[in-house]
Amino acid sequence: MLEMEAVQQRGFRNVYRDGQCIGFQIAYRSTYYRGISLSLSKGFRVLVDGEQFPPEAITIAYEGETYTQDEMAKAGHVQWNLDEPVILNIAKPGGLKLGVHEVTVNWSHRISYIGTMPGVPEQTPAAEAGGPGPTGATLEFGGGNNTRKLVLVR
């Protein structure tokens, strides 16, 4: 089963390679009412405790494959089904400290069946350090900025 919130707590942990902590991972579920091709994503942004991570620091793992943001934009025939979260891998040498963190994931996607509305922003801007970010974008169906307090244990 998945947690109700878009930002999942289950899966939140630091990531190690060759004994070194190289970053952390966050599981994110789409709260859109349908699954979509990965290429429809407008990209992921992550803010943790006021620290904004650059898009290049984030890779996306889904069903055994890992994508850079650029690769994800081309993955037109990979279906992100609703019953599986994506795992965001965020590079950060040393990872996050144990304990409580405020985590914001920004995500949005294109909608083919609605023509762009003039004068309405296309996407909620990614949350900036210090706050959850302004609203005002169109039709993000539960995307945009999603913030949740998560507890890291390892």
Partner: protein
């Protein structure tokens, strides 16, 4: 996995019902043919029939409700001795879409039989914005995606597809225009649709009215290319909405730490966009309806859309298809969809003279 004889016969009956003879669209006049094959089994009752799009349960799906839970809920709505119609969203409800396993499909048919369900409409998308906001995919790629969906819909027993191809914006918020290669993509799949007994239906939904430039484009294409029923219409009752209610501002608000609905109601245009009588000349082209609704009282009346008038037009003018519930009340985010759909079906039973 070996099938029992009973299971085989049940599966065969559903499949036989889905592969009805194609309608005589090529020579039929445009007026309603009472005998026009709707693609349902011969034993199907006449008149409008009740169904549910399990999109209504989106907030709980995968969190506290499985597909089987949704289908079980539907069986509580079926009149004893008859089946309740089902609409799914392919990309949401078909496990491992677009490649469900044969074991999953076997289980699918068992559930349909167990829960008194007839599959009616398969909701799917041709994502023309697959790689870009402004440049649509090639027509060839779009046709391939569409044909794959028609075949999967047919394999799962559906006789209608709610086919959403891309749109582009117009000068104002309320004008949604089919994308440049919308009709070319549809043309490429018409033969497949007829062969597989799946009617591709474009949904007429706010902010599109039943009269206006977008509707003209659809009807021009349908009549000039003589596509009915293989490309035709689904009417979403949102077009008849007369007042706003406690409804989602756009299709979904995030209850999960994100922002509240932000599309302003003005995007819907001036209410009502259409009146039920506007459907009368369109009845020959309507092969499914979305019974959109926003707010049910405990007396089981809907407060934003004139259901008695809508259903009367459908009954009086020979509509023999299904009406698929689509709930968009704001309490959907707090578990409100389940009682709302039940109340709506009490209302529809009364309006159809079933209760």
């Amino acid at each position: 996995m070996k099938m029992t004889r009973k299971e085989f016969l049940q599966t065969a009956a559903v499949v036989a019902g889905a592969i009805a003879l194609p309608g005589t669209a090529a020579s039929a006049p445009l007026a309603r043919q009472r005998g026009m094959d709707e693609g349902f089994p011969a034993s199907e009752r006449k008149g409008p029939k009740r169904g549910v799009s399990i999109y209504s349960y989106e907030h709980e799906f995968n969190v506290s409700a499985t597909l089987e839970d949704c289908l079980m809920e539907l069986s509580d709505l079926a009149t004893p001795g008859t089946k309740i119609g089902l609409e799914v969203l392919a990309n949401a409800h078909v496990k491992n879409y677009p490649h469900p396993s044969t074991a999953w499909i076997d289980d699918w048919y068992k559930m349909l039989d167990r829960y008194d369900i007839i599959p009616v409409e398969y909701g799917h998308w041709v994502d023309t914005k697959l790689y870009s906001e402004t440049q649509t995919i090639d027509t060839k790629e779009g046709v391939e995606m569409l044909i794959a969906d028609i075949k999967l819909a047919s394999r799962l027993g559906f006789t209608r597809a709610r086919t959403k191809v891309g749109m582009q914006g117009g000068a104002s918020i309320a004008v949604q225009t089919p994308a440049d290669n919308f009709f070319e993509i549809i043309k490429g799949a018409l033969e497949t649709a007829q062969k597989h007994n799946v009617r591709m239906l474009t949904e007429i939904h706010v902010p599109t009215s039943l009269k206006g430039p977008t509707m003209d484009k659809y009807m021009d294409f349908i009549t000039k290319e003589n596509t009915n029923p293989w490309f035709a219409l689904n009417i979403d009752f949102s077009v008849f909405q007369t007042r706003m209610g406690p409804q989602l501002g756009d299709h979904q608000a995030s209850a999960t730490g994100g922002q509240a609905p932000h599309a302003p109601p003005s995007w819907m245009g001036k209410l009502p966009l259409a009146v039920p009588e506007d459907m009368i000349p369109l009845i020959p082209y309507i092969h499914c309806c979305h019974a959109k609704f926003n707010d049910m009282t405990d007396a089981c009346e809907e407060t934003t859309i004139p259901y008695p008038e809508v259903i009367k037009v459908l009954v009086d003018h020979g509509y023999n298809g299904y009406m698929m519930s689509e709930y968009e009340g704001i309490d959907k985010l707090q578990g409100g969809a389940w009682p709302a759909v039940r109340k709506q079906h009490v209302m529809m039973k009364r309006l159809l003279g079933e209760a």
